[in-house]
């Protein structure tokens, strides 16, 4: 009932869904044109069409990144396709807006023509038959990151356009490294043992009483379960495998960090904003966060890249180099009006394609469109051009393990995995016991998602 002013209430990626507002149902088009339009796919609508784009956190006149990039995107689009008018609908962040979204799309069977969404939600809408399949050519299919494409596949069909892939990695405070006499990882590569040793050395109390902690993460990911090769489920997304020996030993490595007390005492309730604030205040030497924090550090005059901060890969252990990651999507809503649907696909393709980055860079003042690395190869280059740290991030897509995409994932995650993880990290259960206890419920939810 209350507002959500300052707290990012949900995990970063869940917070990446688009914005919801309610629109009247579009008038029904004739079936004939509908088939023709979806066949031609990319054909620009000849007659003027007006479509609605829902973008969360779009506030007309404000300076938020979403507002600036959205306005710029519409402006650039208008120059290329003057026939198609885009109206942006905005709304605040948080699960309340997701509700608004669900109500409009699932209950009212109406709403946006084009919208932003995330992993679990995209499948929810697909299962409800509310998404129109992107008409992708084979070349385009190959252009998209395969794991991102897989994450948007429902019953063998791609149901939305991958927009960007957001990897989690380590931000390091170089001043603290120097102070504690720790060498930063060369080229950003390190092993778990190296990270552990560094975190231990970086946990110290200054003469003035200030306590520095070596390592922290916000309460929103399970990266360490991947470190020895553990994965939530098998390749077919049929069998739950997060209780495998590899996953258990990954959790053990995580627990070791907790037991060594290199993390702040409230690490179990640390939210993303707080963890960033602590890093900015020099309380934390290594912070595991996604790419968005680059802009935060960049905007702060006390922080200079390469001088007092840098980024490094998620550490490597028994498994291959990996990173925890999530995907954002642009989806097109299924509807009768063929012209609107075709225009919506065209716009979605533009929003996720290679042209928009350079288009926005050419505007005065130039606008950075990509807030995270693009989901397709042909569009990926430009993200790295924005900033040297982003150049490093752009390379992480290759090994990033995209957030499990199952329509029941948020339930598996929040209801079962998080309490189990907490119990292990607090030392109330052994990692094996904690992960074994989750298995039957997780498998049941996985089966439900596959029904």
């Amino acid at each position: 009932m209350e507002r959500d002013v300052t707290i990012s209430r949900r995990r970063f990626l869940q917070a990446m869904a688009a914005v919801g507002v309610v629109v009247a149902c579009a008038p029904a088009g004739t079936p004939g044109t509908s088939a023709a339009a979806s066949a031609s796919g990319t054909a620009a609508a000849a007659k003027p069409v007006s479509i609605e784009w829902w973008r969360r956190n779009y506030t007309p006149g404000s300076q938020s990144a979403e507002t600036i990039t959205s306005d710029a995107a519409v402006k650039a689009w208008k120059e290329r396709y003057p026939n198609v008018t885009i109206t942006i609908q905005g709304g605040p962040f948080g699960p309340e807006t997701d509700q608004k979204f669900d109500i409009a799309i699932l209950q009212q069977k109406a709403g946006p023509d084009v919208f932003h969404t995330t992993g679990g939600d995209v499948l929810k809408y697909a299962a409800a038959g509310q998404l129109s399949e992107p008409p992708l050519t084979d070349a385009e299919r190959r252009d998209f990151n395969p794991s991102a494409l897989q994450a948007t596949t429902y019953k063998g069909k791609v149901v939305a356009y991958p927009l960007w892939i957001v990897p989690w990695f380590e931000y390091i405070n170089l001043d603290l490294f120097k102070e504690a006499g720790v060498t930063p990882p060369k080229d950003g590569n390190w092993t778990y043992d190296e990270l552990f040793a560094a975190a231990k050395k970086l946990t110290f109390k200054r003469a003035n009483g200030k306590q520095v902690y070596g390592f922290a993460h916000a309460n929103d990911e399970f990266a360490f379960l991947l470190i020895d090769g553990g994965r939530p489920y098998d390749k077919d997304v049929k069998t739950w495998t997060f209780n495998s020996p590899d996953a258990v030993s990954g959790l053990e490595k995580w627990v070791a960090l907790a037991q060594a007390k290199v993390m702040p005492p409230d690490f179990l309730t640390l939210n993303p904003n707080d963890s960033q604030a602590r890093f900015l205040s020099g309380d934390i030497a290594i912070l595991q966060r996604p790419s968005a924090m680059i802009n935060v550090l960049n905007a702060d005059k006390n922080w200079e890249f390469g001088k007092n901060w840098d980024i490094a890969n998620f550490p490597k252990a028994k498994g291959d180099q990996t990173a925890w990651g999530g995907v954002g999507f642009i989806a097109v809503r299924e509807q009768q009006d063929a012209d609107r649907k075709a225009a919506a696909h065209q716009f979605a393709k533009y929003l996720t394609g290679p042209d928009i980055g350079p288009d926005l860079k050419k505007q005065t003042p130039p606008v950075e469109y990509w807030l995270a690395p693009a989901g397709r190869t042909s569009a990926a280059g430009i993200y790295g051009d924005y900033h040297p740290a982003k150049a490093k991030v752009a390379k992480m897509g290759a090994f990033t393990y995209v957030l499990p995409n199952v329509s029941t994932w948020s339930e598996i995650d929040q209801k079962y995995m998080r309490p189990a993880r907490d119990a292990a990290l607090e030392g109330k259960k052994t990692p094996k016991q904690a992960l074994d206890e989750v298995t039957s419920a997780a498998q049941r939810l996985l089966d439900e998602a596959n029904k």
């Binding site: 002013v5 506030t59 990144a65 605040p92 904003n273 905007a299 702060d300």
Partner: protein, 273 residues
């Protein structure tokens, strides 16, 4: 003199408790007046090192905060006005009058107080859609009038009022409406003031209903508007805190406007002791 000395411990106790309770408000205004670079300082600072109105400037320049405030005044104001009228009428009937179905109606009202908004949100949305009230002010206001805390409050209060005055007025030939208007309403002033303050505050802070019902950002009330300041990739804490501080001011004004009405021990004449 001696009374002051006797009361001193009471004053100290109350002041300490009050200071503790006021701390979040102090922190809010303090943060809003901090230069941006100090806003996210860890640990937060209890005493400021420097003050700045920069956040206020940015808030008023880059957001339609005035529009949001006006919207909220309209929404919360109309809801409050109707609640004062309807709740005192219903509260009077439930407290003082006997009529068939009274107990059933009252218990329905009290029992549904417990239902969280999350449960009624979707059905309410459909009802408003059927009425064609989506994306309108009436669509936000009407469901607000259905909240029944106020009926319960007024019933409990009016129940404590003496019945003799009503009887006397009826004997003098007053109509039922006149009894309500000239006996019940004046005697209920303290409770009406409380109701006004509570209701205004409740709808001043309303978030989820207006968010789901309104589509046009120009109609957003302040809490929905402020929530849009929270970014996907970065949140401007200074501006958010400043927005919250600005949003708190009208509620403070409403409190002071109505609290005078808690008249010093309303004199109730002709009451048996």
């Amino acid at each position: 003199m001696s009374s002051i000395r006797r009361r001193l411990p009471v004053h100290v106790l109350l002041l300490v408790a009050g200071a503790l309770s006021l701390f979040p408000l102090y922190w809010l205004f303090l943060t809003s007046l901090s230069p941006t670079q100090y806003v996210v300082r860890v640990p937060p600072e209890v005493v400021p090192r420097e003050l700045s109105v920069g956040n206020y400037q940015r808030l008023f320049e880059t957001t339609p905060i005035v529009r949001w405030l006006v919207n909220t005044v309209v929404i919360a104001g109309v809801i409050t006005a109707f609640h004062l009228l309807f709740d005192s009428m219903a509260g009077y009937a439930f407290a003082k009058r006997r009529f068939p179905g009274k107990d059933v109606m009252f218990w329905l009202i009290v029992s549904t107080l417990t239902v969280p908004a999350q449960v009624t949100l979707i059905p309410v949305f459909f009802i408003l859609r059927a009425l064609g009230l989506l994306d309108t002010y009436p669509g936000v206001i009407l469901p607000g009038l259905a909240d029944v805390f106020g009926v319960f409050l007024m019933k409990q209060f009016i129940q404590t009022l003496p019945t003799e005055l009503e009887h006397a007025a009826r004997v003098d030939g007053a109509s039922e409406w006149q009894v309500y208007r000239h006996i019940i309403v004046p005697l209920s002033r303290p409770a009406l003031a409380v109701l006004a303050i509570f209701t205004f505050q409740r709808y001043w802070n309303a978030f989820i209903f207006p968010l789901v019902i309104l589509r046009d950002p120009a109609k957003y009330p302040v809490q929905v508007g402020l929530a849009t300041l929270q970014g996907e990739f970065n949140t401007d804490y200074g501006m958010l805190m400043t927005g919250a501080a600005v949003a708190a001011l009208p509620m403070i004004a409403v409190f002071f406007a109505f609290q005078r009405q808690f008249v010093e021990g309303i004199r109730i004449g002709g009451v048996k002791g």
